[in-house]
Amino acid sequence: MHISEGILKPEILIGGTIVSIAIGSYALKKLKNEEIPLVAVFSALFFLASFIHIPVGPASVHLILNGIIGAILGVRAFIAIGIALLLQGLLFGYGGVSTLGINTFNLALPALIGYAIFSLHVNNNLIKKIKYFFIGFLPVTTSALMLSITLACNGESLIPAAKIAFIANMPVMFIEGFITMFALLFLEKVYPKILNEIK
C-alpha cells in the first residue's frame, strides 16, 4: 500500500502533501489532551500491522487496519497514520518522506469511512456484525482503489502496476473485514468505553 519514492509526479506528491497537512492540522487542533494516549496506541498498532504479512501467491501483502483506527479515532487517524508512515519511511524504507503526504492521504482518508460506518446506529446483532465487517472491508478497498488511481494518474506506464496493486490487496480487504469485526466485537464486550472515547 506504500508508494515508494521516485515514482510519482511532483504535482501528485505536492497535492497529497497539502491535503494531508491541512487535514492533519485540523486533527491536531481538535485533539484533546486526554485522547493522546489512545492516538499513540493506534499509531503503534498501524506501524506494527505493516509487519504482519499475508502470503498471496508468490508475493505477500500486509495488514493495514485503517478501518478500525478510523472507527475509533475519527479524523485523528490522520495523526496516528501520518506519524507511523513517517517512521516506516525513515527506518524501513516503506514509502518515503516525499510520498508521506500522498500515502497518508490514501490510507487515512478512507479511515474516515470506518468512522462514518461506525457512527451508524444498529440494533440487530447480525446487522451489527455486518457493519463491523464493513468497517474493516470498505476503508481497505477504498485505499487500494485510491492507490491504483494515484498510480494510474501518474501515466500509462503505471496502469498495469495499478491493476496489480488492487488485485493483490483483495484478500486483505476480506481478512481485515473479519479481523475488524472480531476486534470490535471483542472491544465492545471487554472494553466498551474505548468505542465511545472519541466523539
Binding site: 491536531l28 485533539l31 484533546k32 489532551n33 493522546i36 494516549p37 492516538v39 499513540a40 499509531s43 503503534a44 506501524f47 506494527l48 509487519f51 506519524i83 507511523a84 517512521l87 516506516q88 527506518l91 524501513f92
Partner: protein, 130 residues
C-alpha cells in the same frame, strides 16, 4: 604375536592422532570444537568453512580449548580443521535451525526504536496540549 603387538601399537598411534570435529549452531552463530582426545584440544588450528561449490565462506583459528565460532549463514556447509603436522579432518554439517540473519535482528531493534519514537512524539504532544 609380535605382528599383533606392532599392529595394535600402530592403530593406537593412529587413533591418538585422529582429529575430531564437533559443530553446533543456534541459528546465529556456528560453534566448532576440535580435539584429538578428551584432554588434548586442537589448539590454534586452522578452521575453514566451505559453502556451495567448495567456496570458502569463513576462515579462522581455534583457541586454546579447540573452540572456534563463525557467523551462521548457510544450513549445509563443510568444516575443515587443519592441525600442525598435516593432521586434518573435514566434516559435512547440516543444521535444522532456521538462519537468524543480522538484518532480522536489526529489524527488531528498529521496530522497538520506532515504538519508542512514537511514544516520545505523543509525550511531547501531550506536554504541548497541556
Amino acid at each position: 604375536m609380535k605382528y599383533l603387538i606392532v599392529l595394535l601399537l600402530f592403530f593406537s598411534s593412529v587413533y591418538a592422532h585422529k582429529l575430531y570435529i564437533i559443530a553446533d549452531d543456534n541459528g546465529k552463530t556456528l560453534h566448532i570444537k576440535s580435539y584429538f582426545t578428551k584432554s588434548s584440544f586442537c589448539q590454534e588450528c586452522k578452521v575453514e568453512i566451505f559453502g556451495n561449490n567448495d567456496k570458502v565462506l569463513f576462515e579462522g583459528k581455534t583457541d586454546k580449548k579447540g573452540n572456534a565460532s563463525f557467523p551462521f549463514t548457510m544450513k549445509n556447509i563443510d568444516i575443515e580443521v587443519t592441525a600442525s603436522m598435516g593432521h586434518k579432518n573435514r566434516i559435512s554439517y547440516e543444521s535444522e535451525n532456521e538462519i537468524v540473519s543480522i538484518e532480522q535482528n536489526e529489524s527488531y531493534k528498529k521496530i522497538l526504536l520506532a515504538l519508542g519514537i512514537i511514544a516520545f512524539i505523543f509525550f511531547i504532544l501531550k506536554l504541548i496540549k497541556k
